[in-house]
């Protein structure tokens, strides 16, 4: 999963380019004085009111226990201690991590594969196929979740019938009520939505690769696969890292898709097999009414995302050498 599907969008890594004009004339700097602040003032104002205030509210709330609009009790770190011991939270963390791993190791290679396949084609076929493979993105997560909840029906669902026709298995597979099949079902859904989007990123990156380098490698006797692995892929590094990081950040915030897909089991899946960190937050904060615990969960999610992103950047820098 990648790209902004939340309301204010998912991440983009900070650019590595130098920025800003280098003022050789001091008066130039003085002239541009208040302007950056002016340009940024709507952002600062809106952020201050609609982000900082609720955010600080959430920070404070994490140390309280809430029972209804008038019942607030200060409990210190009790919420966090509860989370550390709560098996449901562990399940949510595990499921979400599994999904993020699937996003990086299944979705991205598929997107890369499709981009490679598409790259060799003519311009018109490329445009048409790009359109087709991107179109699932036009739906919202909720629509897709509900659509696929019908497609995954045992015996009558499209997915079941297709699998039965191709592999002689799966007609009665209970994608949404068998705990072992729920996560694969969610992954299948996410593949349908987001492989096309990531493919577009990779396709553009492929086209930006220096053809001369590739040709030189081929002349040196490298096989197709070696050319790809040692010349093409390294040239695409910035895009791959960007897409990978966005996918992971997005995966950890997966919310509306499982909620809609698993509507029959309240959005969590049988035995919490489809519970993600954010649906867990939703359950705790909005369905059980304890915004304090919910804020604590939000905190932990933010820290997890931050840590994982940091790790990813480190790993990608290591791989550079």
């Amino acid at each position: 999963m990648s790209a902004p599907l939340g309301i204010a969008g998912a991440g983009a890594p900070p650019g590595s380019q130098p920025d800003g004009p280098t003022p050789t004339v001091r008066s130039r700097r003085a002239r541009t004085g208040p302007w950056p602040y002016l340009f940024l003032s709507p952002y600062l104002l809106l952020t201050g009111v609609f982000f900082l205030v609720p955010f600080i509210n959430a920070i404070i709330l994490a140390f309280y226990e809430i029972n209804g609009p008038r019942g607030r009790v200060f409990v210190g770190l009790a919420n966090f201690r509860f989370l550390l011991a709560d098996t449901t939270f562990h399940t949510a963390l595990w499921n979400t991590t599994l999904f993020a791993l699937a996003a990086v190791f299944i979705q991205l290679p598929m997107a890369m594969g499709l981009a490679l396949l598409l790259n060799g084609g003519g311009r018109r076929t490329k445009a048409i196929l790009r359109l087709i493979l991107f179109s699932p993105n036009l739906f919202g997560q909720i629509f897709v979740g509900i659509l696929f909840s019908v497609l995954f029906l045992p015996r009558y669902g499209l997915v079941n019938r297709t699998f039965q026709a191709l592999f002689h298995w799966g007609l009665e597979a209970r994608w949404l009520s068998d705990p072992r099949l729920v996560m694969p079902a969610i992954v299948l859904c996410s593949l349908w939505i987001w492989v096309g989007l990531n493919m577009i990123y990779f396709l553009a990156a492929l086209q930006a690769v220096d053809k001369d380098l590739e040709d030189a490698a081929r002349i040196d006797g490298a096989g197709r696969w070696q050319v790809f692995w040692h010349v093409t892929l390294p040239s695409m590094r910035p895009v791959v890292v960007f897409v990978a990081i966005m996918s992971v950040i997005g995966s950890y915030q997966l919310f509306e898709l499982p909620l809609a897909l698993l509507a029959d089991s309240n959005g969590y899946g049988p035995s919490n097999s489809g519970l993600t960190l954010i649906t867990y937050l939703n359950q705790v904060a909005f369905r059980s009414g304890d915004l304090g615990l919910g804020s604590a969960v939000g905190w932990v999610v933010a820290i997890v995302i931050f840590t994982v992103s940091l790790l990813q950047i480190r790993v990608s820098r290591l791989a550079e050498d």
Partner: protein, 300 residues
């Protein structure tokens, strides 16, 4: 009650009056469930039960006398009756002689009903109206019967869902809200009209005497379903709730799922012990959640 395909059942020569306990029901079910056209996939099942337990499981638990919470609001589902229901349920959906299939909701259940894939469906009054709108072509072919009892002469009804009305403290017109509430619950005239339009039996016991409840329902083979439901109503098991009700149901389902996995892997050996262990674990989790809840603590 159970809704069933009267035409198919009569054609098979079954007398539903004789199905007055779940044991008898399951015995007949074993005879009827099976593969009819030789393709290896069963084409007829006796009973519709959710594969994840959920509301079907709780309905049967409540009928048995099991509870999620006791009168004082304490967690109470780690009990013998609940374990027995789970054992029975597991056998029917996953055992070697299973009789149940998960027909799902909406159009999928409608298809199962139409094809005769499943013969009997758990049907509270509100669901009976759903059939009338979603499967109208089965008009006259469906009928209702009370639930088979767990023990001879036992309770033949249960609870699935429920509705309440809440007036918020912040409301600007509490008197008007109260007036509406009293009207909705007590006005017999509109209660019977609402019954005619939704099949939902009024909660007001006095209103059960209304003649509208005796009206024959052409969808259900002209049975006076209002009267049938009203006659079972006094037997309805009382349900105790709690602020951690949602957590309790979720944990019960989790325990059930784990028992199902165990059953599929190891069969009956060690199953009762596993069920008790899983129920105890789930109950402990809910108690921990309830202990956190200050509102509950204050109420005590």
């Amino acid at each position: 009650m159970l809704a069933y395909r009267r035409d198919l059942i009569e054609a098979l020569g079954i007398d539903v009056g004789a199905l007055d306990t779940w044991d008898k029901f399951a015995a007949v079910g074993r005879r009827l469930t099976g593969d009819l056209d030789g393709d290896g996939v069963p084409d007829r099942y006796m009973l519709d039960l959710l594969a994840s337990g959920d509301t079907a499981l709780t309905t049967l638990i409540f009928q048995r006398g099991g509870e999620l919470f006791d009168r004082a609001g304490n967690v109470a589902f780690d009990s013998q009756p609940v374990a027995e229901v789970i054992l029975w349920y597991l056998r029917q959906i996953a055992g070697p002689q299973k009789i149940a299939y998960d027909a799902g909701w909406g159009q999928s259940a409608a298809k199962a009903m139409t094809d005769g894939l499943v013969l009997f469906f758990l049907t509270p009054d509100w669901r009976s109206f759903q059939y009338q709108t979603e499967v109208p072509w089965l008009r006259g072919k469906m009928a209702l019967m009370p639930l088979p009892a767990w023990t001879p002469g036992g309770r033949r009804t249960s609870v699935w869902g429920g509705t309440g009305l809440m007036i918020m403290k912040a409301t600007q017109h509490p008197e008007l809200a109260w007036e509406l509430a009293t009207f909705l619950y007590f006005d017999r005239e509109s209660l019977s009209r609402r019954f005619a339009e939704t099949n939902i039996v009024p909660v007001l016991k006095d209103a059960w005497k209304r003649p509208e409840l005796d009206a024959p329902n052409p969808y259900f083979s002209n049975q006076p379903i209002g009267r049938m439901y009203a006659q079972l109503a006094p037997d309805t098991p009382p349900i105790n709730s709690s602020p951690v009700d949602a957590v309790a149901r979720a944990k019960l389902n989790q325990a059930f799922s784990r028992c199902l996995e165990f059953y599929q892997r190891h069969g009956e050996t060690g199953l009762p012990a596993t069920i008790h262990a899983e129920l105890a674990r789930a109950a402990a989790d809910v108690r921990r959640m309830a202990d956190r809840n200050r509102a509950l603590a204050e109420a005590k």
